[in-house]
Amino acid sequence: MEKYLVGEFDNEYDLKDAVSAIRNDGFIIEDAYTPYGVHGLDNAMGLKPSRLAKVCFGFATLGLTVALWLQYLLSAVDWPINIGGRPWNSVPAFMPIAFEVTILFAGLGTVFSFFLWRKFKIAKRNYHPSFIATDNKFFVVIYKGEQRKPMSSAIEIIHQFHGKKVEA
């Protein structure tokens, strides 16, 4: 617990305001812990938008390509079979599957990437055995060191926003 300072709040608004203030004071916010996704906290913490959307697009493109290419390959090249007089490469008929596979690749790929980000384990580490951020409490974790101001000013801010410091 030496490396981190943990503050506890009762609602999202206090947490959000406190995080903004602490960050403005030059502290490094390691993380925040909340029972639900607090709207606007990402801006307060200064998090960059996720890259998952780009990943998703990549997988979708892959899915589309694979589906169209495979359907063409298997129906028209590998073993072309006359099916009801339809053209070998019946592109319109290949569209539904191409679409579904696109979605499948995009969805699964994105989820896979999401989990891959933390090696299939979402929790990085547990900072404190007693804090539980899944019920009604909100926490902020401040990294000690490299800060311009002393830690006490951070604790002050926490108190200012109706929070309290979590003791080790």
């Binding site: 009801g84 007089g85 339809r86 053209p87």
Partner: protein
């Protein structure tokens, strides 16, 4: 073509010299009984044919054994079909057949194209008679008082009775058309003086014979030459369906119906109930039975130049007079007076020896009602001591059969020669089992001067013996059947056969070809003795009934044949039942609907049967099919798949349908008057394969722009001659946005069906069933609309009331080039071949049924269950070249792909390409009307290509752009104008 096939025929003659063909190393099949009855294994082992698969204790995979011959007969090659020429005995018509033998078992019958009578056609009964060979309920050993016995005991007993008889013993047989049998019966009569021979036909043609006796001094049936007649007037003679020799007549009839000739024959048919001939008739006149007799009388008056009031009679008489010598009047009424009138008319018209051949007369039927009547009287008066009954079932087929059976039971000697239990054999003390015709030797002189040969194509299953051999034993002689016949012919060879050949040569030809022309006996007829009968018909007060035979079951001879029972009646499309066909007028009068069970009373006779509303039925008549209610059909209780909601085809112990033999009049007349009709309040399900009769939409759901569907397109002969495309529905051109990726550069198989020629006889349906291992499913499944026939014969009525027209349209897979079934199958189980066939791959099919749903023609059949194949005996009829489909897969017409492949292999072997006509599909081969043509659409010289370009060719549902390769040729009727049908031009 014929030469090529001929090479296949190998007669048994070469290798067999003894009766049982035991010249090979095969033990007689009868040995098998000792082990465990007939199993596939023991049959294969003993009958000795290769590749019996048997599963021995398996470690990893089942071990399959292959058992070769010990000594392989030269002509037998496992896996290759051998064809034998023979003559069918399925009915008295005696059509010539080719029997396809594979690995020692006959698996298909086909008409012999060279035979002058049936000319390659074969009826449904004959096609189906094959399975009777493998009937596990056949009697395979003699029975004494119902107990299993042996020949020695039985023979001794019979001979003893024969020797010690002091009263008459009657040998009652069907018509004996075999010269050698006639000969041996003669010997029999000479040896045992008390024996008298009575011939009877179950369905009697006695009146024709008797009338000719009165007119010409000899009992004979002339050879009717429908091919030479320009005008045919048929007075209730269903010659295309059931009368005398329907296949021969259909072939002949079609010869004068070729549309490319200047004139075609015109058929006028007079009848009370709808028959196949009536369905095909150009003019159909509907009269009640009593009116028909009256009409005949009036017609005779008209022909003889007297005045007649009957408008039909005068009109037809005029027509006939215009066609003197080119017309033919026939009648199927078993009434001597009517037949005398018909003889008078034909004589007056000068048809004798022009359209009515008095030289090569038919010997198919010779039974005499008079003789039978005398026999019955004698037996009733106790003047008879014993009977030997062969080939007929009088207890069933005679009107007073029940009393007869009681009398027979009282006799000292009663012998029944039959190969299955029937009503007559039940009351006989001794049953001497007969052979199936595919197991026996026989000779037939069906028409004078034409000798047909029957030869065995496999070893007999049991210790059966034909009538000839039985009599031979009772004469105290031994020997085998073949030698008996051969020696008989050797004896009369020089006198009978006008040839320079040696006898061996003659005999070998006879066995090889199946028939040979011999010198006919000259009949020496008397000069025409005019005999005008006095007919006074009172108009009956009530309704009249007609008893008729259906083309599939005839008079019940084949009632135990599951194929025939499930074959829909060509007219009513009902399976597994007989019923009372009534006219809509009667239905209205008595408030009857389809399926209501009514009680019909005529004198003391009653019967309860469900009713069926038959379009085209004379308004004051009802008609009932004969041949049902046969003992032995109780067995069909078991038939069909067994499941939760299964209803048995027949209740336990109840036969299929009801017998109406007791309604036959004492004079063996098949009509009569009804005393009363009572509605019982019960209902009965009639299993129909087609419930909608008309191409006209049901009234309340009919769209204004399409009151009638244009699937059957028809015209008259006159319009056709003016414009070959007349009557055709002119659709809109179909366009496509896709480029054609699929050009058929090799063969492109196609088929054309001539609606105009098709008589609806349904022979093709059975032929297809036999060829392609189509299962029988039972009445309940048919009721549920799950019949399995690949080829269904759609029947449509047009017109109203009595005056309806009938069209038959054979509907099977149309092998569409743009098949709608194919793109919907997820697993590629139905795809297109490079030769334009729609292929169904059973082993790939998972059974989504999407293809069947998407088929506009609804010709796909699904295996709803694992259809019973437990009867190992009947399994031997299966075609080894066609997969037996398992449960859950789709099947349909494959265009007999196995035949196409066979022809391809043969062509390859000979280094040639397939020629037009090399491939004959099963349906096409059997068709007596030659209505089915198959061939290569890419070959401009093929018959099919010519038909496609003939102007008559159209495709059903062409507007869907599915591009079927099966097409139809317009219905052309030879009549003046088409009043009730306006052609729809879209």
């Amino acid at each position: 073509m014929s030469d090529k096939i001929k090479n296949y025929y190998t007669s048994f003659e070469d290798s067999c010299s003894s009766d049982d063909c035991s010249c090979t190393d095969l033990p007689p099949v009868a040995e098998v009984e000792k082990t465990s009855g007939f199993t596939r294994r023991s049959f294969l082992k003993t009958a000795g044919f290769s590749f019996g698969a048997l599963f021995v204790a398996c470690t990893q995979a089942p071990v399959k054994k292959a058992i070769p011959f010990l000594i392989q007969p030269e002509e037998i090659l496992p896996g290759k079909a051998i064809w034998y020429a023979s003559t069918s005995n399925a009915c008295e018509a005696g059509c010539a057949v080719h029997v396809k033998n594979r690995d020692g078992r006959p698996i298909k019958l086909e008409g012999n194209p060279e035979h002058p009578l049936n000319q390659g056609g074969l009826c449904s009964q004959c096609q189906a008679s094959l399975i009777e060979l493998y009937d596990s309920k056949r009697i395979l050993h003699p029975l004494l008082n119902g107990e299993k016995s042996d020949w020695q005991t039985v023979d001794n007993k019979i001979i003893e009775k024969l020797k010690n008889s002091d009263k008459e013993i009657v040998l009652l047989t069907n018509t004996v058309s075999s010269p050698s049998s006639e000969n041996i019966i003669g010997k029999f009569k000479r040896k045992y003086k008390n024996i008298s021979h009575v011939q009877m036909d179950e369905y009697s043609y006695s009146a024709i014979l008797d009338a000719h006796e009165k007119n010409y001094g000899k009992r004979f049936i002339p050879k009717y030459q429908f091919d030479k007649a320009d005008l045919i007037v048929s007075i209730d003679a269903d010659f295309l369906g059931t009368w005398i020799s329907p296949i021969q007549f259909t072939k002949d009839f079609q010869k004068n119906r070729k549309l490319d000739s200047k004139n075609i024959s015109k058929l006028i048919h007079i009848e009370s109930h709808m028959s196949l001939t009536g369905a095909k008739a150009d003019e159909r006149i509907v009269l009640s039975p009593s009116e028909i007799i009256k009409f005949t009388k009036e017609l005779d008056k008209g022909i003889q130049g007297e005045l007649t009031e009957n408008k039909y009679a005068s009109k037809i008489a005029n027509l006939l007079k215009h066609n003197k010598g080119k017309s033919l009047v026939v009648s199927g009424i078993n009434d001597v007076r009517v037949q005398l009138l018909v003889n008078r008319i034909n004589k007056k018209l000068g048809n004798i020896n022009k359209t009515l051949n008095h030289k090569e007369v038919s010997k198919q039927y010779a039974g005499s009602d008079k003789d039978v009547k005398v026999f019955i009287e004698k037996i009733n008066n106790g003047k008879i001591e014993g009977v030997i009954i062969a080939g007929v079932n009088p207890v069933y087929s005679l009107p007073n059969g029940k009393e007869l059976s009681k009398k027979i039971k009282l006799l000292k000697l009663s012998v029944s020669i039959t190969d299955n239990h029937n009503e007559t054999s039940e009351c006989c003390k001794i049953v001497a089992p007969d052979r199936h015709y595919l197991e026996s030797w026989n000779d037939n002189e069906i028409v004078l001067g034409l000798l047909s040969m029957t030869q065995p194509v496999l070893q007999p299953f049991g210790k059966n013996r034909s009538l000839r051999m039985s009599i031979n034993s009772w004469l105290g002689k031994s020997g085998n059947e073949r030698d008996l016949i051969r020696n008989y012919w050797r004896g009369i060879f020089t006198s009978k056969v006008k040839t320079t050949q040696t006898f061996t040569r003659f005999w070998n030809n006879l066995v090889h070809d199946g028939f040979v022309k011999i010198k006919p006996i000259s009949l020496k007829l008397n000069a025409f003795n005019d005999n005008r009968p006095q007919i006074n018909i009172n108009k009956p007060k009530g309704l009249e009934y007609i008893l008729y035979r259906t083309p599939q079951l005839a008079f019940g001879q084949h009632a135990e044949n599951p194929w025939l029972q499930e074959l829909p009646d060509p007219i009513t499309k009902i399976t597994w039942d007989n019923y009372v066909s009534i006219s809509p007028e009667i239905s209205k009068k008595y408030k009857l609907e389809k399926g209501d069970v009514i009680k019909i009373k005529s004198g003391n006779n009653t019967v309860q049967l469900p009713v069926f509303l038959q379009p085209g039925q004379q308004k004051n008549t009802i008609s009932i099919a004969l041949g049902y209610g046969r003992q032995g059909t109780e067995r069909f209780h078991e038939i069909g798949p067994n499941w939760l909601e299964k209803k048995p085809t027949v209740e336990k112990g109840i036969p299929v349908g009801k017998s109406v033999s007791h309604f036959i009049s004492e004079n063996i007349n098949f009509t009569g008057n009804i005393t009363s009709i009572i509605k019982t309040g019960k209902t009965w399900n009639l299993a129909m394969t087609q419930t909608f009769d008309s191409l006209i939409n049901p009234i309340n759901t009919s769209p204004a722009i399409m009151p009638k569907r244009p699937f059957v397109q028809e015209t008259t002969f006159k319009s056709y001659k003016k414009d070959p495309t007349s009557g055709k529905h002119h659709g809109h051109p179909v366009t496509t946005m896709w480029k054609d990726d699929h050009k058929y550069k090799g063969h492109h198989w196609g088929m054309a069906l001539d609606i105009s020629a098709c008589t609806g006889c349904s022979s093709c349906v059975v032929s297809c069933q036999v060829e392609n291992n189509v299962p029988v499913v039972g009445k309940d499944e048919v009721l549920r609309k799950r019949d399995m026939h690949w080829l269904r014969l759609d029947r449509y009525y047009s017109g109203k009331g009595e005056n309806v027209d009938v069209s038959f349209q054979a509907m099977m897979c149309q092998h569409c080039d743009n098949a709608p079934c194919e793109p919907v199958c997820p697993v590629l189980a139905t795809v297109h071949s490079t030769e334009g066939l729609n292929e169904q791959i059973y082993n790939r099919c998972v059974g989504t049924r999407f293809c069947a749903n998407n088929c506009p023609y609804k010709v796909r059949r699904f295996n709803w269950f694992e259809y019973a194949r437990e009867d190992v005996m009947e399994n031997m009829v299966l075609n080894p070249d066609v997969t037996v489909r398992s449960r859950g897969v789709m099947e349909k017409c494959s265009m007999c792909i196995q035949r196409i492949q066979e022809a391809r292999f043969e062509a390859k072997k000979n280094g040639k390409s397939i020629q037009d006509g090399d491939i004959q599909l099963a349906c096409q081969q059997s068709c007596p009307a030659d209505a089915i043509v198959f061939g290569d659409l890419n070959d401009p010289k093929s018959k099919i290509s010519k038909l496609v370009n003939s102007g008559r060719h159209y495709k059903v549902l062409e507007e869907l752009n599915v591009r079927p390769t099966v097409g139809y040729l317009t219905q052309v009727r030879n009549r003046e104008e088409d009043s009730n049908k306006g052609n729809h031009h879209g």
